[in-house]
């Protein structure tokens, strides 16, 4: 398949290794990968704060970067940015061209589960990992059935993808999909509560005895990592793209 990468600003600027892993793993799977130019932020920091006017120009710039780009799918290694992009594109542009872009948007795990499943992992990943089930991926993108939901049919795409890797041991923290407390500007505006949420989250992951906290949302991982290091806990964060890339 021909895949256009959607690399949100946070990944581009702070976690290039997540972008690299995403690119490499998709190439290893035999896809042709391109990076459309002119990508910026999806507008989430602004729209989440209610500031739609301030978000408009930014969001449309990102949308324009993908308009008319020839590809089968647009893949993003950050769940909450993807959700925001989808919603904001829709909000600011309801043209058919915008819809074409929206219909091609996939979060990486979602893409690997629903569109182009991995046939085989070549290498084992002999570690215990504690999965970070971040809110937007779980509750808005349905990467897994949220713990509040009592449907008899349950699914978990993150586990389904990772569990095919040999020797990987998957576990979950207590209160498995409770928010880590980042919430964009919430971390700054509501510093004390946010910090307590992050602290609890970091400890719950640590208490599983896992070597890595693995997640699909770089912003949550950045938050948890900051708290892990402040609390000096012997556990590290890894993006799911990095784990998959290592095992391919």
């Amino acid at each position: 398949m021909k895949i256009a990468l959607f690399i949100p600003c946070l990944v581009n600027q702070m976690f290039p290794e997540v972008g690299v892993a995403t690119l490499e793993l998709l190439e290893k799977l035999g896809h042709e990968v391109i990076l459309p130019e002119g990508q910026t932020c999806c507008g989430q920091p602004m729209t989440n704060s209610g500031c739609y006017e301030d978000a408009k120009k930014t969001t449309l710039k990102l949308l324009n970067a993908f308009k008319g780009v020839e590809c089968d799918a647009i893949v993003c290694p950050a769940a909450s940015c993807l959700v925001a992009a989808k919603e904001n594109f829709h909000e600011f542009d309801n043209s058919p061209e915008a819809q074409v872009v929206i219909d091609k948007l996939y979060e990486l795990t979602e893409f690997l589960h629903d569109v182009a499943p991995i046939a085989e992992f070549k290498k084992p990943f002999p570690h215990k990992v504690s999965l970070q089930m971040s809110c937007h991926g779980i509750r808005m993108l349905s990467l897994a059935t949220p713990s509040e939901n009592m449907s008899l049919q349950r699914h978990n795409k993150v586990e389904a993808v990772l569990s095919q890797i040999a020797d990987i041991e998957i576990c979950y923290p207590e209160r498995r999909d409770e928010c880590c407390g980042f919430g964009g500007t919430f971390a700054v505006d509501e510093g004390a509560v946010s910090a307590k949420m992050s602290k609890d989250k970091a400890y719950f992951h640590y208490e599983t005895g896992a070597k890595y906290v693995v997640g699909f949302d770089p912003s949550c991982l950045m938050n948890i990592d900051g708290m892990i290091r402040r609390q000096k806990l012997p556990i590290e964060t890894r993006h799911i793209a990095q784990v998959i890339n290592e095992a391919l």
Partner: protein
């Protein structure tokens, strides 16, 4: 601004957070309710269908509210119930006072009513010489403590049993140092029994009002609504107009979820249906608007009126559990409190006291889209120029920087350099709340784009 400064949610929450043991205990106690809810909900294979049905019943009723309110009024009157309409809190209080003074009531026993809290009725009546006794155990505790409720189902959840013991010792004469819940509950019961016997009128909230029957449903675990309603001659039931349901069947659907989602009980211990005055007595129903019909005009805000007040969203809310109910500046705290209270929040802060994690929306038995409503409130506030103080100054700047690739690249490159070369201690104060509590991210040397240009193009 300074007189409201201490009312800002973040500031109040920060004070609550100072006592980490208390936060842990508060958070755990409420999470325990969430876990009980999970067990109770999962014991019904049809739970998710019930939620869908519950949501549709409430939406249907709200869409045809005028019709059902009229039907309700007629059927009530046919049953000998007197119906009153109050457009706001002041009118509600006047109506209640009118009824009470007509009967020369000196003491009113009351149970299960967040609405009277919303209307600030207690102080209003007390100023007019009427003693008001809250009869739910939790509500009585906070009444004695002189505090507002901090949760809609467990209003004294913020107090530890030792604190209740101290309070009871001081106010109702229990033994000094006693904190055994059974002992304290017994003492409270005896104390409340005296109040019931000496009251001249009783008042309750309403969980559901059944249009087809002209009846109201009140759910309690202690039976105190019945004690109140059956003893004195006058009984008053105050309800928000959103409490309407069409018929008994729809009430039954909501009853199956209410207690399960609140405390994990299959059903509340007492679900009492009142459909007429007792022999020789009087029954009044006061239907209150107080901003509700305004909310109905906004399609998104209107869905907050589907709420059946189970409190489930508070129990699951990670922010509420760590900031306490009193930080919200509104009678109803937590996610639903933001949904129905943000418009009345003159600090313009509670709409932002949320990470938009969406757990509340998923837990809600009537599918109130709480995160969507909260997000919408932020937008309404921003459009009205009511952003919280900090945001007003930095958001337009963020918007400009993010919208321009060169500006974004330059500022992020500067930030990365700063993160790499400056010592953390120098940066932390600049990074605000982030750096105060967490380590700053370890910055990479270059952006992904730069890597890509070098390695792939």
């Amino acid at each position: 601004m300074s007189h409201t400064a201490s009312k800002i949610h973040a500031d109040k929450a920060a004070i609550f957070c100072k006592d980490e043991d208390r936060v842990n205990w508060h958070s755990k106690a409420l999470w325990l309710l969430r876990e009980k809810r999970d067990r109770a909900a999962s014991s019904l294979p049809e739970w998710e269908q019930l939620r869908q049905l519950g949501s549709e019943i409430k939406l249907h009723t709200l869409t045809n509210l005028a019709k059902y309110l009229e039907m309700f009024e007629q059927n009530c009157q046919a049953n000998g119930i007197q119906v009153h309409w109050a457009k706001d809190a002041a009118e509600h209080n006047e109506i209640v006072h009118g009824i009470l003074s007509h009967h020369q009531v000196k003491k009113l026993v009351k149970s299960k009513s967040m609405l009277t809290e919303e209307c600030h009725m207690n102080p209003y009546l007390e100023e007019r010489g009427i003693e008001v006794i809250d009869t739910d155990l939790g509500e009585r505790i906070i009444q004695l403590a002189g505090q507002p409720p901090s949760h809609i189902v467990v209003p004294a959840i913020h107090l530890k049993k030792e604190e209740v013991g101290e309070l009871f010792h001081e106010k109702i004469g229990t033994e000094a140092g006693a904190s055994d819940p059974t002992y304290l509950t017994r003492a409270a019961r005896a104390h409340l029994r005296e109040q019931f016997l000496s009251a001249d009128a009783a008042m309750t909230g309403v969980n559901m009002a059944i249009a087809e029957k002209g009846a109201v449903v009140v759910c309690t675990n202690e039976g105190n609504a019945d004690m109140g309603a059956n003893l004195p001659k006058v009984q008053i039931h105050s309800m928000g107009m959103d409490k309407m349901v069409p018929n008994l069947d729809s009430a039954a659907v909501l009853l199956r979820m209410l207690a399960r989602n609140a405390t994990g009980q299959p059903v509340t211990t007492y679900s009492s249906f009142y459909r007429g005055p007792k022999a020789g007595g009087e029954m009044h129903v006061v239907i209150v608007d107080n901003g509700r019909s305004n909310m109905l005009k906004d399609k998104i805000l209107a869905e907050s009126l589907k709420c059946i007040r189970c409190g489930g969203c508070m129990n699951t809310c990670p922010v509420y559990r760590r900031s306490g109910g009193h930080s919200y500046n509104y009678t109803i705290p937590g996610p639903i409190g933001i949904a129905v209270g943000a418009q009345k929040d003159d600090t313009n802060s509670i709409a932002w006291a949320c990470t938009l994690c969406g757990s509340c929306t998923q837990v809600c038995p009537t599918k109130v889209p709480l995160d969507k409503i909260i997000h919408h409130h932020r937008r309404l506030k921003a459009e009205a120029g009511n952003l919280p103080y900090g945001k007003r100054s930095y958001m337009p700047v963020v918007g400009k920087v993010m919208g321009s690739a060169p500006m974004l690249n330059t500022s992020m490159a500067m930030a990365r350099t700063a993160l790499r070369i400056l010592p953390g201690s120098l940066l932390k104060p600049f990074a605000g709340a982030w750096g105060k509590y967490r380590e700053l991210p370890v910055a990479p040397k270059s952006s992904f784009e730069a890597w890509y240009k070098k390695n792939r193009s």
